[in-house]
C-alpha cells in the first residue's frame, strides 16, 4: 500500500509539473488542433449531411395519386419543395409524370426520375432515397388493401388503419452507414501522432533531466525501491498520453462532433498504445544523455510512425505494399483498430488482434525500458 502511494505520488508530481509548464497546452492541445483542422478540412469531402434533406417535386400528375404519394413522403427530416416547371437549380428533384395516377389505376409499371446535383450531400441523398422507398412501399401496400376505393375517406373513418403499414430500414452488419469524414479520421489520427510526439519528447527529456540533476537518485534515498521508481515514471508517462488523448477527444466531441464509434473500446486501444509509447519514452530517456538527441529522435519516430501508420491519411487508401510496411508502426495498429470501431462497426473481436500486437509491444518495451532504466550516469 505504501509502495503504491509512493508510486502515485511521484507520477502525480510529474503530471503536475507537466501541466504547470506554460508551453504544455500549446503542444498538447493548440498545436494538435491546428493539425486536426488542417487534415480534417483537407479530407473533409461531402460527408456532412444538413439537418434537413431537401427534395424538390415537380408534380405533373393529372390524377389524385400524385398528391397522395407526396403526403407519404413528408417527414420531419425532409424539406419538400414544389415546382411548376423543372428548376435550373436543385439538390434533388423527383418528377411525377402526368400519367402517374393513370398508370397506378391501370396497374402498369412506371419509372420515376430522381435527379441529384453532383456535389450535393451524399448522406442527405441517402435519407431522401430511403424516404422515397418507404413512401412507395406504403402506397403500394394501401393499394393492395383498398383497391380503387377512396382511400382518404376510408382512412378518415378508420384511423386504426392509417399506419397499418410501417416500413423500417435496417442495415446488414458491417454496412458503412456513415461516410468517413475528415474530422472523424483526423482527430484520432492526430491524437495518436501527438501522443507519440509529446510522450516521447516530454517523457524522455524529463527522465534524462531527472537523472542528470540527481533527482532520481534522491528519490531512492527514500524507502522507495528502484522497481517502484521505474513503475512511477512509466505510469506518469502513460497518464501524460491518456490526458492528451482525453483532451483532444473532448475538444473533438464539442467542436467537431467527433464520433469514435465504440467509446470504451476506442479508449482501450488508446490506453494500450499510450502504454507502449510511455515505455519507449523511458527507454529513450535512459539511453540518451542530451535533450537535442531525444527531441530529434522523438520527432523522427513520431512522424515516420504517424505517416506509415495512417495518422495523416486513411491507411485504406494507400497501396498494399505501403500498408504492409506500415505494420512496423505502432500507430498502424492503433489507427486500424480505431477505423474498425468507427467506420466498420467493429467489436472487441475485430480489434483483438490490434490490441494483442499493441499489448505485446508495450510488454517488450516495458521490459527493455526497465532493464535499461538508469538512476545515475
Amino acid at each position: 500500500m505504501r509502495r503504491l502511494k509512493r508510486i502515485l505520488r511521484i507520477a502525480g508530481n510529474d503530471i503536475r509539473i507537466m501541466v504547470k509548464d506554460k508551453v504544455f497546452f500549446f503542444w498538447t492541445l493548440a498545436f494538435p488542433i491546428l493539425f486536426i483542422l488542417l487534415f480534417g478540412y483537407l479530407y473533409k469531402g461531402g460527408e456532412t449531411a444538413p439537418p434537413s434533406a431537401e427534395l424538390t417535386v415537380l408534380n405533373q400528375d393529372e390524377g389524385r395519386w400524385g398528391a397522395y404519394f407526396l403526403e407519404k413522403i413528408k417527414s420531419p427530416g425532409i424539406v419538400l419543395k414544389t415546382a411548376g416547371t423543372e428548376p435550373a437549380e436543385y439538390n434533388r428533384l423527383i418528377i411525377l409524370p402526368p400519367d402517374f395516377s393513370e398508370k397506378i389505376e391501370a396497374r402498369k409499371d412506371q419509372a420515376l426520375a430522381l435527379k441529384k446535383r453532383e456535389d450535393a450531400s451524399a448522406a442527405a441523398a441517402a435519407r431522401v432515397e430511403i424516404r422515397l422507398y418507404q413512401a412507395i412501399a406504403r402506397l403500394l401496400s394501401e393499394l393492395v388493401l383498398y383497391g380503387d376505393g377512396d382511400l382518404t375517406k376510408f382512412l378518415d373513418g378508420h384511423a386504426e388503419f392509417r399506419d397499418l403499414v410501417t416500413v423500417k430500414t435496417r442495415y446488414p452488419a458491417k454496412t458503412i452507414t456513415v461516410v468517413p469524414g475528415g474530422m472523424d479520421h483526423a482527430i484520432p489520427g492526430i491524437t495518436v501522432q501527438f501522443i507519440m510526439m509529446m510522450v516521447l519528447i516530454y517523457g524522455g527529456v524529463t527522465v534524462m533531466e531527472d537523472r542528470k540533476k540527481g533527482v532520481l537518485s534522491r528519490l531512492l534515498f527514500s524507502p522507495l525501491s528502484p522497481g517502484a521508481l521505474y513503475q512511477a515514471k512509466l505510469l506518469a508517462r502513460w497518464l501524460m498520453g491518456m490526458l492528451q488523448a482525453l483532451m483532444l477527444f473532448v475538444v473533438g466531441k464539442i467542436f467537431f462532433r467527433l464520433n469514435l464509434g465504440d467509446v470504451p473500446l476506442s479508449l482501450l486501444v488508446i490506453a494500450v498504445f499510450a502504454l507502449a509509447t510511455a515505455a519507449l519514452s523511458v527507454f529513450i530517456g535512459s539511453l540518451m544523455g542530451k535533450e537535442d538527441m531525444i527531441i530529434g529522435l522523438s520527432i523522427l519516430l513520431a512522424n515516420v510512425f504517424a505517416g506509415l501508420g495512417g495518422c495523416w491519411w486513411p491507411i485504406e487508401v494507400v497501396p498494399p505494399a505501403v500498408r504492409t510496411m506500415g505494420m512496423i508502426s505502432p500507430a498502424y495498429w492503433a489507427m486500424d483498430a480505431l477505423h474498425k470501431l468507427r467506420f466498420f462497426q467493429g467489436d472487441f473481436a475485430a480489434v483483438a488482434p490490434n490490441l494483442g500486437v499493441l499489448l505485446a509491444l508495450a510488454v517488450v518495451l516495458s521490459i527493455l525500458a526497465g532493464r535499461f532504466f538508469k538512476i545515475r550516469d
Binding site: S217, F221, P223
Partner: protein, 326 residues
Amino acid sequence: MLPGRILWYDAFTKEWNMLEIKNLTKSYGDLLALDHFSLTLEKGEVLGLLGPNGAGKTTLISILAGTVRDFTGSVRFLGHDLFSDRNLKNRLGIVPQDMAFYEELNAMDNLLFWGGLYDVPRDALKKRAAEILERVELSGRMKEPVKNFSGGMKRRLNTAIGLLHRPDLLLLDEPTVGIDVQAKVSILDLIRKVGAEGTGVIFTTHQLAEVENTCSRIAIMDCGRILAQGTMEELIRLVGEKDIVEITGNFPAASFTEALQDLDGNGIELLSAADNLATLAVADTEQIPKTMDRLFRRKLAVTDLKIKTPSLETVFLKLTGRSLRD
C-alpha cells in the same frame, strides 16, 4: 514496524553505535574508490569527512544512500543492517551534492512532495515543512518557484529536504559547494544545531575551515581510506610540536626534494613539495637558516618564507602529501 521497535530498543539498551561501518570496499573497474573503510558514529556527533576530490567521499555517501551497490563490507544503522529493510531509510536523511529537487515547484511544494515519500503523517507534514523553511530562512519565499532562487537559497532548500522527516542520521555531501559566505555560515550553523539536538551528522567537504568550526570529530580520508580521525586537537598533535615553514620561490619540485633529502635527522620534515611551493615541518627554528643555505647553494631561488603554527591543513599535508586544493 521497524522504526518503533528501534525506538523501544534505543530507550532501554543503547548497546550499539548509531552507525557502524566495517571494511566497506568498492571498486569501479581498476579504481579502488573505498578500501576497507571503517567508521563509527554516535548519536549527536557531527563528523566532518575531509578529503580531496576522488578520496571516496561521494562513493561512501552513495553506498549509504543505497544508490551504489556491488560493494563488500557491512553497514549497521541503529543496530540493524542498513540494507535489510527499506523502512530504515525513514530514519536517514541525505543531502546530495546535486541540487536535486524540482525547480518548477515552489519551496513549500517541494518539501511536501519529498516529505510525502518518507512516512511523515499527512497532518504533520505541512507543519514540519513550515518549521524547516523557517529554520533555513526561506519562509518569506516559500511560494516562489525555486528556479528564481539564488544558489545559496537552493542549497538551503536542498538541506531542508534532507531534514524534513527528522532523521536520526543526516548525511551531507559537500553541502556548501558554490555558495556565498552568508549562505555557507547559515548551513554550517544549521548543521551544528541539528547535531546539538541529537541527530548524528556526517558531512563531507574539502573545506578545512568548515570542519574546524563545525565538527565534534574530524576524519581525514584519501584513496578510499581513513588516514586519521579525532578531535581537532588530537589531529594537530599528529604533527608534533613542530613549526610549519612554507617556502615560495622559483624552483622545480624535484630539485627542492633532492636538496633537502638527508635533513630528516635534523628535525626537518618535508611535508609537501610542488614546483615553486614547498612545506616543511621544523622542530627547531634554528634549522631554517641551514636549510636556506642549502637551497641557495643549489641556486634554487626563494622569494618568500612564512613560519606558521600547525593547523588542520598541516595535518592533511602530512597525511596525504598533497594540499586539499590539489
